[in-house]
Symmetry: C2
Subunit: 189 residues, 2 copies
């Protein structure tokens, strides 16, 4: 079984309420569809702030959600002097506070910053097709000079999803990978 | 067999000639000994430049060598818009040109920029002790949520060396590791 890789750079998901604080009446416009159905890269960017540290030009993904979530890499976390937990998207237990600056305002989010875990988007039909019904995780094998194996790649089963492996930029860069690479799924122990 | 990890942040090694261009008569002073005998973090920093891109505050390691070498990560390489080869330290075939700015001058190095490969510093005695005489590479197993296996970890045998695994900051951050971590060496296939 092979999956296509999408490398996730740092990004944010916002609620309507937070979006309004940050961008007021400016419309959230689609710049590019993402591979996951309905998801898109928007025309809006925020600055992430923690104490005296910041990261600029962090993209807002659309559509708006019912939670705020800021996904950064371990590399970003050192720069921001934060130590967020490694979590599944939407699981904000223990997520850290962070401040966002938009073109029209500032929002302090008490419970938003995570490092996203390694995961594969797939459907129930994919689970059956690839005989993964009993698994919550798989491993990914990477060939090449910077190759190896990535453990704890979670299976994220959703009805309307496109088969895709999501790794953050640290994993992508350590293994010398690019979005679009086809990688081999190997079994869990 | 376990090895202690040292994470290498971006750094440069310089010849006496290049050092003189960049720092003139300023002395190269030791700030901190590194684990490898004789090697040290110095008090000198350079800026790396490629076209309109730069990375500031990159440390010069001492002592001076008989070659110039700039070691960066894949993450750094995207920032600098460079695509250096993955190489062993000192193997500068295909190394890329890069410009260095010191406090007293600028040097254009035609053949200097690499991404260092994963490697373990050890002695001939270590090779025997751990029964690795026939190996040029091993693998490293990492536990934890961001665990997995790193392939192609080269054995760098030198007479006067201290047993230590060197990974760059991309590998370190992808696997959620810190300098001083003890990691398991597993066999090559």
């Amino acid at each position: 079984m092979k999956v296509t890789l999408g490398i996730s750079n740092r990004h944010v998901h916002l609620t309507e309420e937070t979006y309004k604080i940050l961008f007021n009446n400016e419309p959230l416009e689609k710049v590019k569809d993402l591979k996951q159905p309905g998801q898109f890269a928007s025309n809006k960017f925020v600055t992430l702030i923690n104490d005296d540290r910041k990261i600029e030009k962090v993209r807002v993904l659309g559509p708006l959600r019912n939670y705020n979530q800021v996904e950064i890499s371990r590399t970003d976390s050192y720069h921001l002097k934060l130590n967020p937990p490694i979590k599944s998207s939407g699981d904000l237990k223990d997520a850290l506070p962070i401040t966002l600056v938009g073109s029209q305002g500032i929002a302090y989010l008490e419970n938003a910053c995570i490092i996203a875990n390694r995961h594969i988007h797939l459907t129930k039909e994919d689970l059956e097709k690839y005989n993964l019904q009993n698994k919550s995780c798989v491993k990914i094998k990477v060939m090449g000079e910077k190759g190896g194996i990535l453990d704890n790649v979670y299976l994220k089963v959703q009805e309307n999803s496109s088969l895709e492996l999501h790794l953050d930029s640290d994993d992508g860069n350590a293994f010398n990978l690019k979005t679009g690479d086809k990688l081999e799924v190997i079994d869990t122990e």
